[in-house]
Symmetry: C2
Subunit: 293 residues, 2 copies
């Protein structure tokens, strides 16, 4: 069993990005600039945004954090989005989700210029991903692709089961894994809460990508000997022994599943660190205008 | 076994559309107008476009056919696309594929205003389909959804195997069948030429949607008793007994598969007629500005 070290790969990718940024700047090129909009003070969102700002520093990017109170109006937020669309110095930006209920997330996403949509949530980027065209791939699926690539995990013709059909993980993950490319070219099955054959699908899977957000959902008897298991789950579970009062729990019952696997990601330290690194990769692409002019 | 009568359903849908168009026009509304661009004289394309023009008449639409010789330049074609984008009288239009090799199909597709893209090929429509937002759904998958709906075929939680991963059938079909909606909410598996478990997947499937373009590929021993089989294949096979010199062959070995099925589509007369009707439905939506303003 090989433990996939997302933390180490993430650090490696950030070093590679930082080296490229140094070169770009040394040649007189522009330092990539990521902006982030954060609304309110949700604990999870604060943590994510802080990690993104820190990752920008490690990569040598410029970063800007725009904060709004939780009662910001949709119009104010959309006006800021349009301002960032028009700001030539900002290469890419994100609006940290979730947003307060009085603001339409979809409207915000569609207002972002797709050429600066480094989260890859705009319909144009989602559509291009499906078609197989260059685009900003959403961060978590992109991070998983990078792990498969770096660990040279075979995917062609393999049965890959994706648990969960969210717009930011399950669906784009499925689309990536079915493309004629490496990683990809797999037989892809998407399971969800309504799936009657979920357990059987998992038992037959060469690769399981679990993104249900249900702690410990994937058990040993659902996993084939030698399977690759990627755990996207990061549910906060109360834990009095931690200073924070919680710990992150994956969708996979790691201790009993791991011995059966050829490769498995831990939680934390697996997919999580790669998600932020994927955003950095998209920001670098945006800075270089590598996908859109 | 119930034979799904695509021809009858298509006729029914066209009558419904025609009735709605009559009402719209009677109220002083605008008659929907579909334009089609046809390049060259490919036999298949000529037939399809002629059928589309005829369907427009049946639905009470205005239609315009724009023809180019096979040596039209990409620039000329793109100029016409932009002209149709700007023409307020044209509600929707299509460029019949395939195009000659010297013209980039993708460039043409992306030049079409997504609000007039009644083929549903533009990345914005593809992305919105994936996200689950209102959009122009590409014709063949949309026609299959209509058949499932009209025959009230259960899909929730069912195992649906899609054979083929093309951008115009396999991928959007898979996306539709996994959405939380009816028809849909299925466990979806996409198989293709590289799939090692294809036969097993089919044997376990409650619904098989075959879109490989390989005549007679799906045989009786690949189909579970009581399965729903939708045959998208329409390969032209030489046949000296026909006046045309060919007959259309589906991906399913109908005679041996049909007795095992709860529902099955024939070829011809199954999915084929629904494809053109779906284009008509999109044109009606475009005429009513029901999806985009």
């Amino acid at each position: 069993m090989t433990l996939i070290d997302g933390k180490a790969i993430a650090a490696q990718v950030k070093r590679e990005i930082a080296a490229e940024v140094s070169e770009i700047v040394a040649r007189g090129g522009k330092r990539p600039h990521l902006a982030a909009i954060l609304v309110g003070h949700d604990g999870g969102s604060e943590t994510y945004v802080a990690s993104k700002v820190k990752a920008c520093e490690e990569c040598g990017f410029r970063s800007t954090l725009v904060r709004y109170d939780v009662d910001v109006t949709e119009d104010e937020l959309l006006a800021k989005v349009r301002e960032l669309n028009a700001d030539a110095d900002v290469d890419g930006f994100i609006v940290q989700l979730p947003l307060p209920k009085h603001i339409s997330e979809q409207k915000v996403i569609e207002t972002i210029d797709y050429r600066k949509d480094v989260d890859g949530f705009h319909p144009i980027n989602v559509g291009r991903l499906s078609i197989g065209l260059p685009c900003y791939v959403s961060a978590t699926p992109n991070g998983i692709m990078e792990l498969l690539r770096r660990y040279q995990i075979e995917t062609q013709g393999k049965k890959c089961v994706v648990l969960g059909r969210s717009n930011i993980v399950g669906k784009p993950m499925a689309m990536l894994m079915m493309q004629k490319a490496y990683p990809g070219d797999a037989t892809v099955t998407v399971c969800h809460s309504r799936s009657k054959t979920l357990v059987q699908e998992c038992r037959e899977a060469d690769i399981i990508i679990a993104a249900l957000g249900q702690p410990g959902f994937v058990k040993a008897d659902m996993v084939k000997e030698g399977a690759v298991v990627i755990d996207v789950g990061t549910t906060r579970v109360p834990d009095a022994t931690r200073k924070s009062g919680f710990r992150l729990s994956g969708d996979v019952l790691f201790d009993e599943v791991a011995p059966k696997c050829s490769f498995i990601t831990p939680v934390p330290g697996g997919v999580g660190p790669m998600t932020i690194v994927s955003l950095m990769k998209n920001t670098l692409l945006a800075g270089k205008k590598a996908i859109y002019k």
